[in-house]
C-alpha cells in the first residue's frame, strides 16, 4: 500500500455559536493514498464535511471552530501551518468540488478566468498558456464549446454544466487530492451518473487521491476503493468498499445498507429504515453513539466507548467499532 497523502488522526472538532457548542467530530480519522478513492459515508450532520474540510480551514465563516488532533498533507503538519502556507496548500495541493454549483460559484465572476488564474498561480503557466489550459480543462470536463463558455458567467450555464465547471476549477491547480463534497446531491439523476463517471475518469487518468463525501451508496459502489462510515462524529466502520458493502458488521452500516432500495428485487418494501434519530451532539454521552437506535445494544454499550477493531486481515484492514456484534457472531479480530 502506498503511503497516505492526506491523513487525519484523532480529530476532535467543536463548533460554537454564541448559544450552543456541538462536538461535530469526536476522535475520528481517515487517510487516502495517491490513486485511491476513499468514500466517507454518513447521514446529514454526521460530520463528514467538517472532518474532511475542517483541518483545511474550509468551514463557513460565522461559526467558531475548536480543532484538535493531527492532520498531515504529504507528511506536513497542516494544523501547525501559517495562514498563508495553508492558503497555498488549499489552492494547490487540494481541489474541492462542492455540493451545489449554483451557489458555490461566484455569480459576479466569469468562469474561465478563474480557472486560468489557478493554472497560472499553481501550475506556473504563463498567461497565454493558462488560458489555453483553462479552455482544455473545460473541454476535458465535458463542457461543449469551451471557448465560448470561458467568458460566461455562472447564471448562463445549467446546473450540470456548472458542476463540470466546478470540477475543472478544482483541477486547474493540478491538485494531488481531490475532495468531492456530495458532488451530485444537487443535480438531476441523469446528470449525477455523468458527473460520477467524470470524476472516475479524472482519477484514473491523473492518479490523484479522491475523497468522496456522500450519503449515496450507489455513488460509493461506483467509485470507492475504500469506505469509512461516519456516525455522529465517530468512525463506525471502515475497510475496502467490497468488504464494507457486502459484509458489513456494524449495526449502523447494516442499517444504512438495508435502507437503500434495491431496484432489481420486485419488492420495493424490502427497504428498512433505521428507527430513531442521531443523538444530540451538544450533549456528550460516554458510550456508543448509536446505542439508542441499535437493535443489538446491551447495557454495557451505554458506558463504554467502542474502539475500532480489525475483523479481517489483508492489504486493506476492515475495522469495526462494535464489540457486541464481533463477540456475538464469533468474528475473529486481529490487533
Amino acid at each position: 500500500m502506498t503511503a497516505p497523502i492526506y491523513e487525519v488522526e484523532g480529530l476532535v472538532i467543536d463548533l460554537y455559536t454564541p448559544t450552543v457548542s456541538v462536538r461535530a467530530v469526536d476522535g475520528a480519522g481517515f487517510h487516502v493514498a495517491p490513486g485511491e478513492t476513499l468514500a466517507i459515508v454518513g447521514e446529514s450532520g454526521s460530520g463528514k464535511t467538517v472532518m474532511t474540510l475542517g483541518p483545511l480551514g474550509l468551514l463557513p465563516e460565522g461559526v467558531a471552530v475548536d480543532l484538535r488532533g493531527t492532520a498531515r498533507a504529504d507528511g506536513k503538519d497542516i494544523l501547525a501551518m501559517s495562514p498563508s502556507d495553508l492558503s497555498r496548500l488549499r489552492g494547490g495541493f487540494f481541489g474541492v468540488i462542492f455540493q451545489d454549483p449554483m451557489s458555490a460559484l461566484n455569480p459576479m465572476l466569469k468562469i474561465g478566468p478563474q480557472l486560468a488564474e489557478q493554472a497560472r498561480r499553481y501550475a506556473g503557466l504563463s498567461a497565454e498558456a493558462a488560458r489555453k489550459e483553462a479552455v482544455s480543462l473545460l473541454a476535458r470536463s465535458g463542457i461543449p464549446d469551451p471557448e465560448d463558455r470561458y467568458g460566461r458567467y455562472p447564471h448562463e450555464l445549467s446546473g450540470g454544466m456548472l458542476q463540470r465547471a466546478m470540477i475543472a476549477l478544482a483541477l486547474a491547480a493540478r491538485p494531488r487530492v481531490l475532495i468531492a463534497d456530495e458532488p451530485t446531491t444537487a443535480l438531476d439523476a441523469t446528470v449525477q451518473a455523468q458527473i460520477l463517471a467524470l470524476i472516475r475518469q479524472i482519477q484514473k487518468e491523473d492518479g490523484i487521491a479522491v475523497i468522496l463525501i456522500t450519503h449515496d451508496i450507489g455513488a460509493v459502489s461506483v467509485l470507492a476503493d475504500r469506505v469509512a462510515v461516519l456516525y455522529a462524529g465517530q468512525v463506525a466502520e471502515e475497510g475496502s468498499a467490497v468488504d464494507v458493502l457486502t459484509a458489513p458488521v456494524h449495526p449502523y452500516t447494516r442499517g444504512l445498507l438495508a435502507s437503500v432500495p434495491d431496484f432489481r428485487s420486485d419488492n420495493a418494501s424490502g427497504t428498512k429504515e433505521i428507527p430513531g434519530i442521531p443523538p444530540n451532539q451538544a450533549r456528550l454521552e460516554p458510550g456508543c453513539r448509536f446505542v439508542d437506535r441499535c437493535d443489538r445494544a446491551i447495557p454495557a454499550c451505554r458506558s463504554r466507548r467502542p474502539r475500532l477493531q480489525a475483523v479481517a486481515k489483508g492489504t486493506v484492514p476492515h475495522r469495526v467499532a462494535c464489540p457486541v456484534v464481533i463477540a456475538a457472531e464469533g468474528i475473529v479480530t486481529h490487533d
Partner: protein, 313 residues
Amino acid sequence: MQRMFMRRTGLALLLMLAATALTFWLVTAAPGNVAALIAERAAGAGADGAMIQKIADDLGLNDPLPVRYVRWLGDALTGDFGVSIRTGKPMAEEFSARIPMTLTLLAGGGVLALTLSLVMGIAGAASNGGVVDRALHGMALVGASTPNFFVAALLVIVFSVWLGWVPTFGVSGFTSWLMPWFTIALFPASVLARVVRVNLQDTMSRPFATTGFAKGLTRRAVLLREALPNIAIPYMTTFGAQFTLMIIGAIVVERVFGLAGVGSFFIEAIRFRDFIGMQAILTLFVVFFVSVNLFVDLLAMLADPRLRRPRKA
C-alpha cells in the same frame, strides 16, 4: 435590458410630473396670498384691495389650480421658473448662482461618504469581530445618531474657534469646504459603512466565499475580490437613497456655514412666503431625487451580470 432602461426612464418622468403637481398644490394651499405680498412690496402700506385684485388677475391666480399647474409646467419646461418674490430676480438667475454651490457641497460630501463608508466597512469586515470592528461599529452608531446641526456646531468650536485651522463660515478656498463636507457626509457615511459591513459578513458566509478560500485565496483576497463585487447592488441602491437625502442635510449645513446655495435659499423662501421660489426649489429637489435614483438603479443593473446578460432562453 434596453426595454428595462426605457421603462425605468418613463416611470421616472411620470414620477417627476406627479411630484411637481403635488408640491404645486401644497405650496399654493399654504396660508398667505401672493398677490398681497407683491402689492405690499410695490406700494408698501398703500396697497389696497383693488390693487391686489388686479395683480391676482394679471398673474392668473384666480384661474383653477389645474390650469395654473399646466401653465407653470409649460414655463418650467422652457426654463422659466418665474421671478422670486423675495429677491425680485428670475429664479433661473438664482439657480445659476446657487446650484454650483450646492453641487460642490453634495459632490464633496458624496465622495467623502463613499470613501469613508467603504474604508470603514471593509476594515470592519477585515477585522471580523476584533477591536477595529467593534470600534468602527461604535463610531458608525454615534455618526448615525448625531444631528447635523450639532456636528456642525462642534466642528466650528473645535476647528475654527479653538484651533483656528479653518474659517467659521463662507467660501474661501478648499479648507472652508472641509467642515461642511464632513458634516453632511457623517450620517450617510455611518449608515453606508454598516451596509458594507453587514453585507460583507453575509457574503463571506456564502458557499462561493468558501470556494474562494478553496482556490487558495487569503481572507483579504476573498473579501476584496470575491465578496466586495457581490455587495455592489445593495450598496449602490442605499448610496443613491442616502445621497439624495443629503439635499435635506444641505438645507441645515448651508445655513450654519453661510453657503449661498439652494438649501439656504429654500429656508429664506419659506420665511418670506416666496411661493414662486419655494416651488422652483422643490421642483429642483424632485428632479434631483428622481434622477439620482434612476441613475443608481441603472448603474446597479450594469454591475450585475445576471441583469446585464440575462440567461438565454
